[in-house]
Symmetry: C2
Subunit: 222 residues, 2 copies
Amino acid sequence: MAHAYEHPHPAVTTDVVIFTLAADSLKVLLVRRAHLPFQNQWALPGGFVEIGEDLEVCALRELEEETGVTGVFLEQLYTFGAPRRDPRERVITVAYYALVPMDRLHLRAAGDAREVAWFRCDALPELAFDHADIVRMAQQRLCAKLQYSTLALQFMPDRFTLGELQRVYEIILGEPQDKRNFRKRMLAYDCIEDTGTERRNGNHRPARLYTVKSPGEVRIIR
Amino acid sequence: MAHAYEHPHPAVTTDVVIFTLAADSLKVLLVRRAHLPFQNQWALPGGFVEIGEDLEVCALRELEEETGVTGVFLEQLYTFGAPRRDPRERVITVAYYALVPMDRLHLRAAGDAREVAWFRCDALPELAFDHADIVRMAQQRLCAKLQYSTLALQFMPDRFTLGELQRVYEIILGEPQDKRNFRKRMLAYDCIEDTGTERRNGNHRPARLYTVKSPGEVRIIR
């Protein structure tokens, strides 16, 4: 069997999919590439792992270098390694993802990025490499995580109606939720509580206001 | 920012965690290493990715070379890349896992493996590299998958009692399940059906026999 030092090694990169919720849509953070290959095309922020650098450290460094974004809690998504995914040489990329409130992020393009911007997930430009596949898988993972954790509660203000919470689920999942089932499920999770106050919403009858029981903590629910 | 060709590349390997159920315990497939480093120590089957080889193809090839095991459906687990996890050089490993019925596997040690054997997950020998961490994460992932899919049903005979199904869950999860809740949950998934026949089990009253509605298919359940 092959020993490493006798064989050519692949290059290894990290790429990062940062999602946010904004203006009633799920958005993803992209950079416009300053260099070849795929010069001027949009891509995920990312780059080559230094020989002594931890993978997640690399992901956070490249994210900050290219977009200015810091302080994000990344989760590893998947490693993409199809032999011809990069035209230059064999490049294996370890992809990470996160869902972050937009108001925490201050964008600034630099390094390999000519420009940085948010794009609606349902209206992406043509992406470099296999980055469209990576975004697609990250979206699937995000939807799955929404179903088994309290992730969505991080995006709620101090007090909110169940209708507002339902809207967050609908934006991320990309499809309408049944109101009655949704309410039943959310209350069964025992992660939010009735504040005892109400809000008058347009023409509807007043809606109860809820608050998150343990804000800041993402719990796994079954 | 760094371009690949100007920088030293890490080596990339794949490692595979194969679980099975046997003699009332969850077991994992290990090989005894023929070569340095960690010579004669037990480790996961795995090895270096060829420069033009797909990651999953590499995982299956190394698994077959070292253990004789073929025809396994692998899922990617996680990529482990701590800078000093291999004493030789920087090695990043993409780990895969699978849960397979034991009767499908015919073991034969070869290549880099001096020996191949099943070990109980709760009584592992000291493992090479960070392979103990990899097995631990694979076990967590397996437990999670058991909760959101019909994975366990693949391990049931043609007809089985709910008590026998509960035992499979208990072996994999490593903890007793509440009988009433377990039955309620299993029936709610709508993946098994009552055959209308019964089996007399020792001193207990006769137990209903169930069968899997869509055998061979692993469904996601919520």
